[in-house]
Symmetry: C2
Subunit: 212 residues, 2 copies
Amino acid sequence: MPKISDSTIRRLSMYYRSLSEFETKGYKTISSEHLAKTEKLTPAQVRKDLSFFGSFGTRGLGYKTRELKERIGKILGLDHIWNVALIGLGNVGSALVSYKEFQKQGFLIKLLFDNDQRKINKKHKGILVSDVKDLVEKLKNNKIEIVIIAVPTQAAQEVADLVVSAGVKTILNFAPTRIKVPQDVVVRFVNMAMELEHLSFCLSNQDFSVAT
Amino acid sequence: MPKISDSTIRRLSMYYRSLSEFETKGYKTISSEHLAKTEKLTPAQVRKDLSFFGSFGTRGLGYKTRELKERIGKILGLDHIWNVALIGLGNVGSALVSYKEFQKQGFLIKLLFDNDQRKINKKHKGILVSDVKDLVEKLKNNKIEIVIIAVPTQAAQEVADLVVSAGVKTILNFAPTRIKVPQDVVVRFVNMAMELEHLSFCLSNQDFSVAT
DNA sequence: GTTTATTTGTGAATAATTTCACAATCAATC
DNA sequence: GATTGATTGTGAAATTATTCACAAATAAAC
Ligand SMILES: NC(=O)c1ccc[n+]([C@@H]2O[C@H](COP(=O)([O-])OP(=O)(O)OC[C@H]3O[C@@H](n4cnc5c(N)ncnc54)[C@H](O)[C@@H]3O)[C@@H](O)[C@H]2O)c1
Ligand SMILES: NC(=O)c1ccc[n+]([C@@H]2O[C@H](COP(=O)([O-])OP(=O)(O)OC[C@H]3O[C@@H](n4cnc5c(N)ncnc54)[C@H](O)[C@@H]3O)[C@@H](O)[C@H]2O)c1
């Protein structure tokens, strides 16, 4: 079985987003060249990425926009509803709960957890906030598949341990620390400081030609 | 002049964060092996990354924790204060302004902009919110070097165009769209949907062995 | 229905990145 | 101050990712 690289998965997300835009704009078909240009890639890259999963195009014509979008959506698992829980209803957590787009994409935030008594048992955007001490039980009972961790850095590892013990296999971590998990658990992280540091690197090292 | 890859810059950020932790824990020195293990890399990778910028270690001993941290900090431009402006004081924008860590790292949010009259001319966390129509002028006058865009997707490009016209060379974009900028402007983006999609890909394609 | 113009899908070639492997170097020990 | 043990720094090798280049396939034109 082929190994799909991180970069390819990342690009599939980009194609998906571009295709959504093209669909909205009324493009019925799109070529690898056109798709490549909007994402600053080469047409060969686009075709190679897609070729790992099958052949979706028509020679001489390109790809049918809607169809390719749906195919990629399927590859990315966006043809599902995923049950998501969010832990840590602070600044970041609240922003995420308010964000409607995730739900539209099939990421359904079903459970919220915090350890602050002032937040527990109150509703937040229509969802009851649970005590983090009931975490494992509720993750299991609600068949949660993805957990978003948005607690302070020091609490991230202990929370992650609970999440893992509940059998959850995928975690999105906003705390700027690498959490340790077993091999079969996938952790992705969003690290905004890292992106800012990338920018300050570029500002500080204009003599190095930085790849973009 | 050597070209430094995105991956190397990303890892430098990771090393920096690890080194800060090791410093706090009281480690005076650290080997490439130890540093590699905490970030799930190889020692050779760590040494190669550093070698682009000089030789900072002592053979037989390793690296002095504090010294290496400061060296990497310097490479990343964290020995500066950077003047930052944030546009779009919604859910994401507010979370970012509240976050003290950025300032500690030298990213100083000096200006806030919005186009909502209810937010303009009010203070938010001690910073006056300006009207986005004064954007270009104020970015110039305050020598802003980094702009964070946290406006709705449809507004991202027009805002970016203003930012570019003010001469700002680095942008951190939270809107899930690729904004077009001249060659000499660096845009990094934080795309949370992309990370969620990566997770749902992993859940949907456990037959592909995904690189982590 | 034949020709022409496109554009895909993919093996081969190239480029980039990572890992290997080891000489060079230094700290610590005796 | 020689010896031992550890760890760096770095060319070379191996691996991985990207791009090239072209046959195959199809739509559109005539
Ligand atoms: N705010 C930002 O812009 C920003 C930027 C980058 C990274 N981050 C990171 O994101 C994470 C969240 O940041 P934030 O600004 O929302 O913090 P916050 O303090 O506003 O919110 C954290 C929330 O987690 C809850 N919490 C604390 N310990 C808990 C536990 N053990 N179990 C359950 N809930 C717990 C708190 O009650 C609070 O509601 C942090 O790790 C932070 O470093 C935030
Ligand atoms: N909230 C999230 O969790 C989340 C997650 C992923 C991505 N995003 C993206 O981040 C961006 C911000 O999201 P949000 O949830 O904070 O949105 P929001 O609607 O809460 O905030 C947007 C802010 O931008 C202001 N604004 C609108 N047009 C403007 C303009 N032309 N100039 C200046 N200000 C303007 C609005 O007044 C508002 O204050 C969006 O692009 C969104 O897609 C948000």
